[in-house]
């Protein structure tokens, strides 16, 4: 019989398998089992067993009775040998010092390795075999740290990669289109929680609004339908954000749910919730610490995204009417026109002008003029389909792009806008009229009927608008009917001349 030194093992499981297989082979045991002592529950728990040529995980938990062979072996830390009706046994107790992350010493792992021989075919373990078992198993277990080292080093490598890549993700999130999605995907790719949800406090600070949720496979879902009033007692999440959460609740879920308020410069801007509720797997302290350390960066990244959006909004949208500006509109018009041409779909343009707007400004002042513009913008935004794209083209001119709309559909919308805008009443207390009414003149052109280019469509809509403005304002004209209208007008003039 000889004892060989253990070689290098890539994991704890491989190490235990190697130990049990080799110890059973060396000592002619039919079975070998590795039990560790679970101090928290005062139980010996089976970790791995080797039997019938196979090493396998198995479940057994036992409380050691005082005076039993197992208890005596553990107390004396000496090899125990005994025989009972189940077979011949040898228990080799062990105690391994473990160093965890940060070279902090943890409580030692204690337990024993049990070797078995069948009662009929086998024989009792001899003192020399017990000595060999002691030498071999304790020697083998001294290499346990190697397997632990591999596990720890893998964990460190993963953490390092996470720190590097997540920092990059958060820093770059400013430049990506779907920034929130990018951040959530980054978190999931390293931590892999059952679910990650992101809630942000709205601009007025009155609501916590759901943004996105990611599942265990990293699939992202929109949760904008979730809105929580930011008031004490309204919802658990609101209480957490407001710093009023119930300790009892948090305590119960601390193992598999983590609520991470996102704070930037002392201001809470949202809440990141990660959970392992479905799998019931504990969020490891390492993961917890790392995610907490990222909270500041996540908050900052989200804040940057919001600021970026705000800046973009200011550069693309008109502050007064909330309608996109001409530069943005021109870009979208090109895209939509290309799509309409390619897929042979109709497209309509409405060009609107607020009647007598210059006179409103001159008579009542710019404040009233601004109010008129604001109200017109509101009515327009409220009446459009999701795919329509309006724009404050300049001064009191508004252009609306209607993808996939025919002339009839555009005329219908134009009619609705004209009607609703005519119902607008702007109070002017210092004037005799007390209030001001607003009306629109509208010209409509369509692709492909009226023109085959962006410029052509705008020109035709403008022509139609000009016709309305030169014929008493407050009406709608379709470019395709201009020839007819002009001919009718000419005929009318001629018959009047006759």
């Amino acid at each position: 019989m000889s004892a060989e030194n253990p070689v290098f093992f890539s994991s704890r499981a491989a190490f235990l398998k190697g130990l049990l297989e080799s110890a059973a082979g060396l000592l002619g045991a039919e079975r070998a089992s590795f039990y560790y002592y679970d101090e928290k529950h005062s139980l010996f728990r089976l970790m791995m067993r080797f039997a019938g040529g196979t090493a396998f995980e198995a479940v057994e938990s036992a409380r050691s009775a005082p005076g039993s062979s197992a208890a005596s072996a553990m107390a004396s830390t000496k090899t125990a040998v005994f025989t009972n009706r189940a077979g011949h046994f040898l228990l080799e107790p062990f105690r391994i010092e473990i160093y965890s992350a940060g070279a902090m010493r943890r409580d030692p792992v204690q337990g024993f390795v049990r070797l078995e021989r069948p009662l009929k075919k086998g024989r009792r373990f001899s003192p020399s075999e017990a000595a060999l078992a002691h030498e071999y198993i304790s020697g083998f277990l001294r290499s346990y740290y190697k397997a632990e080292f591999v596990t720890l080093s893998e964990k460190y490598a993963k953490n390092l990669a996470a720190i590097t890549e997540l920092t990059e993700v958060f820093a770059n999130s400013l430049r990506v289109r779907d920034s929130f999605k990018h951040i959530l995907t980054g978190i999931q790719s390293y931590f892999g929680f059952d679910r990650v949800r992101l809630y942000l406090i709205d601009e007025k600070g009155q609501k916590l609004k759901g943004e996105l949720s990611s599942d265990v496979r990293g699939q992202i879902k929109n949760i904008s339908y979730e809105e929580i009033p930011l008031e004490p007692g309204a919802h658990r999440f609101a209480d957490i954000v407001l710093g009023r959460s119930s300790g009892v609740f948090m305590e119960r879920y601390k193992d598999c749910v983590l609520y991470l308020p996102l704070v930037v410069q002392g201001v809470t801007m949202g809440l990141l919730i990660v959970d392992n509720l479905l799998s019931q797997q504990k969020i490891e302290p390492g993961e917890l610490a790392m995610l907490k350390s990222f909270a500041g960066q996540i908050g900052l990244a989200l804040d940057n995204v919001r600021l970026f959006d705000k800046v973009e909004e200011l550069s693309l949208y008109d502050e007064l009417t909330k309608l996109p500006l001409r530069r943005y509109f021109n870009q979208r018009f090109q895209e939509e026109f290309y799509r309409a041409e390619r897929f042979k779909q109709p497209l309509a343009v409405i060009w609107a002008d607020i009647d007598y707007f210059k006179e409103v400004n001159d008579t009542y002042g710019h404040q009233i003029g601004d109010l008129v513009l604001k109200e017109v913008g509101r009515v327009i935004l409220a009446n459009l389909r999701k795919i329509d794209f309006p724009c404050r083209y300049g001064g009191d001119e508004i252009v609306i792009l209607m993808p996939q709309a025919t002339g009839t559909e555009a005329m219908k919308l134009a009619g609705r806008l004209a009607e609703e805008i005519s119902e607008i009443r702007i109070p002017v207390p210092f004037s005799r009229a007390r209030e001001l009414t607003v009306s629109l003149s509208l010209g409509v052109s369509t692709f492909p009927a009226d023109a085959g280019s962006v410029e052509g469509l705008l020109e035709k809509a403008d022509d139609a608008l000009y016709w309305v403005k030169s014929h008493g304002r407050g009406k709608i004209a379709l470019a395709g009917e201009m020839e007819k209208l002009k001919a009718e007008e000419k005929a009318k003039a001629e018959s009047a001349g006759n």
């Binding site: 079975r31 040529g53 479940v59 036992a62 189940a86 892999g192 265990v216 496979r217 799998s279 019931q280």
Partner: protein, 391 residues
Amino acid sequence: MLIWLLADPDPGKFSAFRNLLNSFSTQYPDIGVDFRVLTRRSMWRLLFAGLRDSKSGACADIVELPNSWTAVFAKLGLLAEIGGVMESFSPARYPEFLKKGCVTRESDIAYSAPWWMEAPALFYRPDAFRKSGLKPEKDLSDWPGLMAACERLAAANRRRGFYPVMHGDGRMSAAQALPCIWNRRGDLFSEDMSRCLLSKEESVAGLEDYMEPAIKGFLPLFSDSVLHGGPFYEDTAAMVIGTRAPAAPGRRSSFHPARIPGPREKEQVLGYNLAAAAGSPALKEAGVFLKWLLSAENCRSFTAAFGVFPCPKQALEEALDSSRAGEFWRKVFSAPAEAPCSAVHPTAELLLDKALWHASLRIARQAYSREDFLRELIIAQGEIDYLLSLY
């Protein structure tokens, strides 16, 4: 190709599987197959790890699953459609009650194939009953009868280390508790699967029935006999609650099976299925192996090695015909509870199991508190209800 098998108290399962692999390798020398044995807990953890990191190939090509796990892992996209992997897969080969354990709640597409099954029962020693003047048919017909039998057996066997009843796995578990919950007309879920009923009065009453023998000291928990080669059921227990007849190695069992007492109308059947991982690069080979492994012949020889039952109808009939207690098991399998197919069911089982684990620890330390147990059930119910709203 790698297969993950679930741990089993009987190592015969793995010897039998190794023998099957050897036969397969002879017939299909080009397909290499190996296996690893994982506890239920490790398997659950690693399957979720596989979901999280599907690119790393962390998951095995084929996995053995409790049939209640099919729905959740199919829904999360881990499992491949079994019909796409195994051309000849036919649900008609299996008893109807196993069907739901192969599909998700939303569709009838099968994601796993039934392999083997077992059912919890109360195994009693006729000689111990005779000595105490007990008649199983009469005294084991309901739960109070079982408790009265425990009292008489304890009084008649005052020697140290004897217990009227034991648990096959040394502690209280969710799988064995369900029949008691059903006895009281409780359940894990409402019929429409919209609510969890874990802390409802009926379910709690069933759980308390289940725990009563342990609380009253008739049933040991975490017995240290396992550390010394046990448990030694033959002379230390008159009854065992478990799924397989207890026997010393190489000896015939002296225990006879009986229903877990109570008026319920259905029996708990624990089914174990095989599934292929959707991300496996060896799905074709997996199909060949599964078709071969799930043949009636191979199912029969495999299950006979560790005292459980094969799932294919034909093999099941043959196994029941050749079993000593075939008639008893035939009755059990003729009134089975349908396998659950909710994605939340495994988590509910897990939480109930956790509550029973904590209760077992407290009872073993003689520190059991009903309030603590109820609180745990109420919180678990809240958590499961929340999950039901999500999955």
